[in-house]
């Protein structure tokens, strides 16, 4: 990061390419859908990486995702609020779980935190699965309201059904989150978090308030993840416990971040933009059933051969 102006040219060019390609290729609905989801998962990975900056490896981020999803779905189903309001408000459920998480797991580090987070996901899942009167239990909810039609000075954008508009929405989401992460990683807070990761005792000795900084990272990460959950269910129009509370959703941000590289702000997005389309467009046609297994292979190979992630390649030269 010693040459900041150089290091942002690559990501900026990539962002421009992502914004321009749908204008060049017409009738690419499959690609729009896949790249849109890749952007959503990129946001998820960035959110995960915010918490991981402090050295925490979470295996349970699906809990935040699912709570954000259910929070928004329930608000829009029971009170018929617009999704513009329910997504940010529903994500507060994820934030609340983040506060509980922080109270319960404050003393846990490393492997133990990973194990605890793995188990933590079960709690909201089982509760929502059994609270039939509120959530319709394992039946889930279908026919949720889609994203609204925005009107900007006579120009209508149908976010509910126009795939191109959805793609741009998700692209904007991931770019905004990436810029946010870039600012955070360059700030004193970002360095404080990384200092905690490298050596907690030394970090406390130079005056970093470990618990407070880590809690802020977790809450930010939880809220962003929950927002993604809200977008996800309203894009799909349905929600059920296994759809949003599953190991796969906890695994993806971890895999994208580690594959892309956790040291650079765009690493997690890079991982998502490479791996998700690869899985959906290449491996799904080849192996219709077990195509997600490719993520398992990727994460194993990454840890063995590029433990710093692929974005660290440039630095190795």
């Amino acid at each position: 990061m010693e040459k900041p102006h150089w290091s942002s040219i690559g990501p900026a060019a990539a962002a421009l390419a992502l914004a321009v390609w749908p204008l060049v290729f017409q009738d690419a609905s499959l690609y729009l859908q896949v790249m849109g989801m890749a952007c959503l998962y990129g946001t998820l990975a960035l959110a995960w990486n915010l918490y991981a900056l402090s050295g925490a490896v979470s295996l349970g981020h699906a809990a935040f995702f699912g709570l954000g999803a259910y929070g928004s779905a329930l608000l829009s189903h029971h009170w018929q609020w617009s999704t513009v309001a329910t997504i940010p408000l529903g994500a507060l459920a994820g934030l609340a779980f983040g506060i509980l998480w922080n109270l319960g797991f404050r003393r846990l580090r490393g492997v133990y935190l990973g194990l605890a987070s793995l188990a933590a996901m079960e709690i909201p899942k089982v509760i929502l699965d059994n609270w039939d009167s509120l959530t319709y239990g394992s039946m889930g909810m279908t026919g949720l309201s889609k994203l609204p039609v925005l009107t900007l000075g006579g120009w209508q954008v149908d976010l509910g059904f126009d795939l191109k508009a959805q793609y741009y929405l998700l692209l904007a989401l991931v770019l905004a989150t990436a810029v946010l992460l870039r600012q955070i990683m360059g700030s004193r807070w970002g360095w404080a978090l990384r200092a905690l990761r490298e050596n907690e005792t030394a970090a406390i000795a130079i005056g970093i308030r470990a618990d407070r900084e880590r809690a802020r990272a977790l809450l930010g990460s939880a809220y962003l993840t929950a927002l993604c959950g809200g977008f996800y269910v309203h894009l799909l129009g349905l929600v059920e416990p296994p759809l949003v509370f599953n190991l796969h959703l906890s695994a993806l941000p971890l895999i994208f971040s580690i594959f892309g590289g956790r040291r650079l702000f765009y690493g997690p997005v890079l991982g998502a933009l490479i791996l998700y389309p690869l899985e959906q467009l290449v491996f799904q046609p080849l192996f219709p059933m077990g195509h997600a297994g490719v993520y398992g292979v990727v994460i194993i190979l990454t840890i063995f051969f590029f433990p710093q992630g692929i974005s660290a390649w440039r630095g190795l030269k």
Binding site: L108, A119, V126, D129, L247, I255, G290, G296, I300
Partner: protein, 291 residues
């Protein structure tokens, strides 16, 4: 099972048989963790894989169920050894790296099993004679008897190995302090290899038993992994009697919870116990220094 008149006897029999099995499930995880220092999040998936192997042998090759046990035992022991060699090459932080790699392995195995065996629920149903406990009127199925017998036999055998043989002494020394063990001339890499071999055998044994008592499906392993982690944290590493007690307690609590609230809350029991243990006794799992 028509046991509404005797819920307590029912809870005790299911709790006891489940609990013995849980101890068997946890034992392999705990040996691998204690001796090789590797967190194996794919533990449950390997058990389910072994269960599917037994299912395939039993269903498609007409192998008698009892014969699938030694076959699975041998296959899984051989499968665990390459895993040991693979994990040995990981760098620091070793614990976290093994966690992430085996998490990836778990994902891979889940999808592999989905391809090979589809998402249908499978159950191995061998014809084993059951019996009714005298005086209690609780029917005990043959598979439950087999479950308890083999689980206790395997845990007992590992206990004897650890406490009555020279190899066991070396293994226990490695659990207590790998560096001191090395100074004393113990090859800790070989001990890790043996731990994976033993763990693989226990996994191989647990698989067919799992398949004849609980439904097999590709993601069933997560539960088994959670149980292994819970009991290992509860008991500490290499303490088999505590592991058995913990298994029985967990089995009893679970079967009581199922009876009281319905089977859908069962997953919550295991998760809540794990969180409570981590909150109150996070040092339990690392209890290698002293007690």
């Amino acid at each position: 099972m028509s046991s509404n008149a005797w819920p307590w006897a029912y809870i005790f029999t299911t709790g006891f048989s489940l609990g013995s099995f849980y101890a068997l499930v946890a034992l392999g995880f705990s040996l691998i963790f204690g001796i090789a220092r590797a967190f194996n999040l794919a533990h449950g998936e390997l058990i389910v894989l072994s269960g599917y192997l037994a299912f395939a042998l039993w269903k498609f090759c007409q192998v008698p169920f009892l014969l699938t046990l030694p076959l699975c035992l041998a296959v899984m022991a051989l499968a665990a050894l390459p895993l040991c060699l693979l994990l040995r090459r990981l760098g620091e932080p070793y614990g976290l790296n093994t966690l992430v790699v085996t998490f990836g392995l778990a994902l891979l195995l889940q999808n592999l099993m989905l391809v090979l065996f589809s998402a249908d629920y499978r159950l191995i149903r061998p014809e084993l004679p059951g019996l009714t406990l005298p005086g209690l009127e609780v029917a005990v199925s043959g598979s439950q008897i087999l479950l308890v017998l083999l689980s206790l036999l395997a845990t007992g055998a590992v206990h004897l190995l650890l406490h009555r043989t020279f190899l066991g002494k070396a293994l226990r020394a490695t659990i207590q302090d790998p560096e001191a063990a090395q100074v004393a001339g113990i090859n800790i890499n070989r001990m890790a290899f043996i731990a994976f071999g033993l763990g693989g055998m226990l996994i191989g044994l647990a698989g067919p038993l799992y398949g004849q008592n609980m439904y097999l499906f590709p993601t069933a392993g997560v539960d088994a992994t959670l149980i292994a982690i819970i009991l290992t944290i509860f008991a500490g590493v290499g303490r088999i009697r505590t592991l058995l007690v913990g298994g029985w307690v967990l089995g009893l609590v679970e079967s009581a919870a199922i009876l009281a609230m319905g089977s859908r809350w069962r997953e919550l029991v295991a998760a809540a116990l794990l969180l409570a243990l981590l909150a109150w006794r996070p040092e339990g799992i690392a209890a290698r220094k002293q007690e």
